[in-house]
Symmetry: D2
Subunit: 367 residues, 4 copies
């Protein structure tokens, strides 16, 4: 039996911090072949190894070293089966639009299209079912004898992932959540490299603010926990009446791994017990795993019983960074339940999520 | 005019981290003279400089260097006008009791007597009025011709201080608070030195747990925000009906300064606006300052407008560590108001609070 | 073809930091089967998972979880083919002696027997030839029809490994080194966990001292760079006339990876050029690799050309931690050559070295 | 007796990290009045508090807040008695030249004029006597009835200061030093703020390289330890024959305070003993202190006996940052003496040195 032909993958913003992670994850991927690397005109024409300031703890993969960087245009990427975008939001809007309107499949970490009504915003251990609306569109076009249309799927904000991951199994099991608060302690890798967070800000210090982050968590949670609408072409977004979300975000001296202190109140009474909550989280299996995606973790949510866990240094790599770890599940004196979640912000919170979405698109025959 | 005679001050647990801070603050104090240093029998008999592993960024004061350490007994401390206790809770109970039942005035950082009905639990920029119940007791005894009785006053838990400080002016101005949540990012100096938090735990890491800390915040807040009862011999503690408090505590790689993400909901409607809250915090002047205590900060609460403040490295020393700094005051989607507070955990959260309580006792003629 | 039978491996000091690393490296090892775990009487009788405070970033291997810990006696370990010791030096002397005098093969990270005349002190990418003296002893005994004797082989001090690794290829190629200095910046994992380096010492700080470390580097270098003597039963140790070594050791806020600033002067004139030094380091292949040991790195020494490398975070895992990385090779205004080396202190500098020595013993048929 | 009239002080590069330190130190200075603040055209015209991103742990002094920033021209600074320059070297050359050729006294932290034959390069606890050549020039001009000429005095590189400070007393007492090596562990505040060292580079990491730093130490040491020549208009620079200097520089996760591992060999035999070296360092009193400069430390060199000192967190503020602390003085197996020095890089290594030079110029009547 011959090996399946790999899909040709492109990476936009290949020299940036998210782009570097895409390249690492694509290096020996069973579904994808690294085919195109795009960056700014300053880097275009250079070999990747000469253009990049590589800042990963894993070595630059050999198969990426000598790829000649192109500019980020449809023309350059038109042969790709899928394009992963690590572009900054100031340029992502136009470039991504050029690609998906011309028929390409784009999976983007940028925030630009997250709020569009017909764009899935996906945490792949949570809501791959949202990709149904893309599937519906593609099937309808094919049924009409049209060319397979391009589309974009957005990766969620990193700190949103660590919140909605433990919420999803609880909503499925115990019904709607009325209130949820999250105080985040976010790693500096989330801020990128050029220049990213200055050294003096992370030495013996906390920065109690991340621009736009709280708004992202508060809005994105409502979209990700929503259901696909009856027409199958959009989402029944949750409203303030359905769920109220309040976030406080801080930057802490941690390289990778976002810690979040979460409190929540269910709508239905009586609320589930601490033990029921733990069991629901342990029992949860995500669709991406059921669908057979390579990177999907068997345990989407890892529940720890030790008082002092999860910890970023010890737990961020569980499930190769695709699992979200939850600990200190206990009663809350105001709401129902308190807990601490930990998610790997550059894996399930960014590039890894993109790759897992890509695997799901392969499995669903959408590329 | 001759200088006033200074009060003789003793320090229990003098070699520990809180004891070291007491000694620093007493070194050139206008009210107090460093008179006795007590530690375990292992250190007793030695010169202080030979027994201590000094870990402060300020140098060991010369006037403490050659003091011979005594054991922690009433006999050794009976000549003191006031005794500051930095003892660990496993030994503080018995030792402190021996001293105050024999007539000494004790100001303690240990948790042992904080919940006693007739013991003031004091954050000195918040509730020095609680000391009235001691004053009443002393006056009553004196009126009866009895000997001035001993007593103990407890310093609050460090992270409690950073929460109740901004709550107090708001309760005074806008009435009771129904709900308050605090997610804390606490400095390692709060964990002491021997051994304290291990290095490997604070390097590229967060510890999402501090033993007993959340319970302390949740209970102590109710006592500190209470009023003295009508008889003047205890407190009308707040109940779960009066205020619900929920805390989540983490240890972060910061040397000094506890950051707290606070959300709160007032009982009265309409709730004050963000601007009214800021103004109330700015206008607040604590009684210790009005009473003329040397260390009392003019601005008990410093309100910052910059998005990314307060930060531990930049703001912990405001008011010499006696002020609490508050920033990011904004509307909360669930409760009324969100904010971030920063307090110097070894000053207003521990030894400094003790010294300021001592100054208040001098001003009130209670020593 | 059936799989080869794995050797039965025991671990002494199994709950400590070095012991934990041994267990990780033995978890899925092609040569070894995890067979016995020994610890203090406090832990003996418990399941490993219940006795250990696991502090590794990799998860506790499943095959170690339920092993019942034994005490560290010959009786308990007598069925082992090899015993890896992570014992503290205060107990290692007697325990290890009991084992090897009774016929067991012991590979130890403790310092107790490093200076014995007939004990190889081995950095396995440098001087596995020193194990010849053990081989000679074993063969002689077997030739006489005696029972195969026990023996001990010592792992070098962690910071010694990062120094001698780049020296060895240079001595081989260019002859003796007259002077070498090393200023080390050592990671905190080298100090163990209980309690290890206190958090307050590694936050915004450097500790310019590690007890006994400089003496170890200065002495061990002379033994490791020595040749086996003519009789094949000991070493022609280098003297102060052969090589002068001076070390200055500091502890820095790094989790894993020792950085060393090295300067050296060759005895022979003219000294090799910078380029010749680089080439010699690049060309070096260690005997353990030639012998086919699984963990031996193809490139024992990785030479980097970038100005700002090696860096602990980026380079410590090269060769899975078994390679030593060298950068900034340049002329020295006083001696001949300056360079910076980086070695993973818990892999090639401790437990990993032990495992690689074990693999070499298997290859040499010495178990 | 009326207070002396303060000298009018200007600061170039006022919004940068060195400029901020100048402003802090000038805030309540007995000799100087903060008179002009210069920055780039982007900031000129704004109030200082609106233009600066203040990153100091001390608050922005009130008397600086509302000063209107000017451009860095002679015209704007011509009324100043002294100008302190914190300019970056890419612009410092032209601007400083315009000022001193027009008659102003400039004290600069930039490197541009450090190597000029007639420009003193000064560590003010080491070689204020080098300012004699300026004094001679000024006196000669005045004697000829000419206008008092302008001049520039350069502050040394920060890591040079921590090396030459302990060398100077030893050269004075025991004669020339033949060899000296320094491996430095430098704080990130030395890299400035915009952007300075990235956070990801200082978290669990060491950067073994600082551009140009080693060359600066190796050259500047020869000028600072030189004597004024016979003509009194320049220096008899040391040559490679007089002293050989070799430096290896690293950046470490420390906010303030450069640690240096130093080894040295004297020219004269027998070399002094460890005790003699300690005594010479303890006995040293710098000229700036004898001259009565306010900021000059009584103990230029603080000698510590504890094994594990000096440490940046504990010792950097000795003498308010103007003292250099030395510990671990011991025999060196290759050279004569090893030791560890610690210097506050932004005080005696930069802005503080400038202020102390300014005080010396006042004392010498050179402004």
């Amino acid at each position: 039996m011959s090996a399946p032909i790999k899909k040709k993958a492109g990476v936009l913003g290949a020299t940036g911090s998210v782009g570097q992670r895409f390249i690492l994850l694509l290096a020996n991927h069973p579904d994808f072949e690294l085919f195109r690397l795009g960056a700014s005109s300053r880097s275009a024409g250079k070999k990747y190894k000469d253009a990049v300031t590589w800042k990963q703890t894993d070595l630059l993969p050999e198969n990426a070293e000598d790829i000649i960087i192109t500019e980020c245009t449809y023309e350059a990427f038109k042969e790709c089966d899928i394009v992963f975008s690590g572009l900054d939001s100031d340029v992502a809007g136009d470039i991504e639009k050029e690609l998906f309107t011309n028929g390409l499949a784009v999976v983007s970490n940028a925030k630009n299209y997250r709020r569009e009504a017909d764009v899935p915003l996906v945490v792949p251990i949570v809501n791959t079912d949202h990709i149904d609306i893309v599937e519906n569109r593609v099937k309808a076009a094919v049924a009409k004898g049209e060319k397979k249309p391009g589309y974009i799927i957005c990766i969620s904000n990193c700190s949103t992932a660590g919140l909605v991951a433990p919420l999803k199994p609880l909503v499925e099991k115990f019904g709607p959540i009325e209130y949820v608060t999250a105080a985040t302690l976010q790693a500096i890798s989330g801020a990128g490299f050029s220049p990213g967070t200055p050294g003096i800000d992370v030495l013996d210090n906390i920065i109690p603010y991340i621009s736009g982050e709280e708004e992202k968590i508060e809005w994105e949670t409502k979209k990700i926990l929503a259901n696909v609408n009856k027409l199958g072409d959009g989402f029944d977004l949750l409203t303030e009446n359905d769920i109220k979300v309040s976030a406080q975000c801080t930057r802490v001296p941690v390289s990778d791994g976002h810690t979040e202190c979460i409190s929540l109140k269910f709508k239905n009474r009586p609320a589930p017990s601490v033990e029921q909550v733990k069991q629901a989280l342990r029992d949860y299996v995500c669709d991406a795993y059921k669908t057979g995606c390579h990177s999907a973790p068997k345990n989407s949510i890892v529940v720890l019983e030790e008082d002092d866990r999860p910890q970023p240094r010890l737990d961020r790599n569980r499930g190769n960074g695709y699992s979200v770890t939850v600990g200190r599940i206990r009663e809350d004196p105001i709401f129902d339940i308190k807990m601490v979640s930990l998610s790997h912000n550059t894996v399930i919170g960014a590039a890894g999520a993109g790759i897992l979405i890509g695997e799901y698109l392969v499995a669903k025959n959408l590329l």
